[in-house]
C-alpha cells in the first residue's frame, strides 16, 4: 500500500502562533510564518506549498492544535 498523502489547510485568523503544531509533524513541514501577522496579531502556522506533498495526513498537527485552526484531508 502506498503511503498516505495529505493536504492541510489553516484557518489562519484563528491561529495564535503557539507553535504546538510545529513539533508534532513526523515529516517536519509545519512552521510559523514569521513574515505574516494575522488579524489577531499573531504569526500564524503554515505548511509551504512546496512542502505540502510531504504530508502523510497523520493528523497530528490538527490533533494538537488548541484552536481548531487546521483541517487535514487525504489526497488520492
Amino acid at each position: 500500500m502506498a503511503r498516505n498523502r495529505g493536504q492541510v489547510s489553516f484557518d489562519i485568523d484563528r491561529c495564535k502562533g503557539c507553535e504546538l503544531c510545529t513539533t508534532v509533524c513526523p515529516v517536519d513541514i509545519v512552521s510559523i510564518d514569521t513574515r505574516h501577522i494575522n488579524q489577531r496579531g499573531y504569526h500564524p502556522a503554515t505548511v509551504s506549498e512546496s512542502d505540502m506533498d510531504k504530508c502523510i495526513a497523520c493528523g497530528n498537527c490538527a490533533v494538537i492544535c488548541p484552536d481548531l485552526v487546521i483541517r487535514v484531508q487525504r489526497v488520492a
Binding site: 507553535e19 494538537i64 487535514v72
Partner: protein
C-alpha cells in the same frame, strides 16, 4: 478528498479566548468530538465552571449552565436528577474541583451521580492570575507561593483521581494527559469511556487531564508541554483508577476525526 480531521459540530463557531497554546482548547475539542460521535449533542446538558473555561458555555454546541465556583457537580446533580436520560457533564479546573469544590466532587462521586466530569488539572489557578492550586507541585512558584510550594507549610499536592478512586460510587476514573498527539488520542478514548459509563447508568465518571497554563507557568507553549511530561506526569501517574466491568472500552475511533 476524504477528511482526516475537521472542526467538530460539537463546538460553536466562537473563537476560544484561551491564551496561545493553552490545552484547554484541545480538551474542549475532545469533549465536543466525543459528544458528536456519540450523537448526544442534542441530548446533553453541560456545566461550565468558574475558571479559565468559564466561557465554555459559549463554545459547546449544546445546552449549558454556568455554575458558581466549585459547585458544578452540585449543579450537574440538580440537572441530572431532573433529566435522568440526558447526558450531563461538568467541566472543571483544579481550583474549582480540588479546592473550593472538594465537597461537591466527593459527594457527587459518593452518590454515584450519573454525570461525567472533565477535570482539567493545570496545577494552577489560571483565570485569577496564577495562584497556587491544591495540585501545584512541590517547589512550583506561583503568585501565592512565590518561593515555590513548600510542602512543610502547605502539604503535598493532592492526587484527586487516587482519592476519588477509594469511593464506591465512582465508576470510572482515569488520568490522562494532552501533551502530545498520542496522549491526546488516549484522552479522547477516556472521555468516550466516561460518557459511555454515564450512558450505561454505571455511576459517576471522571477524566482528570493534565493540562498546560503557559501564561501563568511563565513558559512558552512548547516548554509547557515538556513540563507536563517531565514534571507533572511523574507526580501524577497516568492510568485508569476505576472502571466498571461492563464499560465499553472500545476505541473511540474517530469517524472523520483523527
Amino acid at each position: 478528498m476524504p477528511v482526516v480531521f475537521e472542526r467538530t459540530r460539537g463546538l460553536t463557531e466562537k473563537e476560544f479566548h484561551f491564551c496561545p497554546g493553552c490545552t484547554h482548547g484541545v480538551i474542549h475539542r475532545l469533549v465536543a468530538e466525543v459528544l458528536e460521535e456519540m450523537n448526544e449533542l442534542g441530548n446533553t446538558v453541560g456545566v461550565a465552571p468558574v475558571g479559565c473555561s468559564v466561557l465554555s458555555y459559549q463554545y459547546f454546541n449544546c445546552d449549558m449552565h454556568e455554575a458558581a465556583h466549585g459547585r458544578a457537580p452540585a449543579m450537574a446533580t440538580g440537572i441530572k436528577r431532573v433529566l435522568p436520560d440526558r447526558m450531563v457533564f461538568a467541566y472543571q479546573g483544579d481550583g474549582d474541583l480540588a479546592s473550593i469544590g472538594t465537597a461537591e466532587i466527593i459527594h457527587a462521586a459518593g452518590r454515584g451521580e450519573k454525570i461525567t466530569v472533565i477535570f482539567v488539572n493545570n496545577a494552577i489557578y489560571g483565570m485569577t492570575g496564577g495562584q497556587m492550586a491544591p495540585t501545584t507541585l512541590a517547589g512550583q512558584r506561583t503568585t501565592t507561593s512565590p518561593l515555590g510550594r513548600d510542602p512543610r507549610q502547605v502539604g503535598f499536592p493532592l492526587r484527586v483521581s487516587e482519592m476519588l478512586a477509594t469511593i464506591d460510587g465512582a465508576a470510572f476514573i482515569e488520568r490522562t494527559s494532552v501533551h502530545d498527539p498520542a496522549h491526546i488520542r488516549k484522552t479522547k478514548k477516556a472521555i468516550r469511556n466516561a460518557f459511555e459509563c454515564q450512558k450505561a447508568n454505571q455511576g459517576f465518571s471522571m477524566v482528570e487531564i493534565l493540562s498546560t497554563c503557559p501564561t501563568n507557568w511563565g513558559m512558552s507553549p512548547l516548554e509547557s508541554l515538556d513540563w507536563v511530561k517531565e514534571t507533572m506526569m511523574p507526580y501524577y501517574p497516568l492510568g485508569n483508577f476505576r472502571r466498571p466491568e461492563a464499560v465499553t472500552v472500545s476505541g473511540a475511533s474517530g469517524g472523520g476525526h483523527a
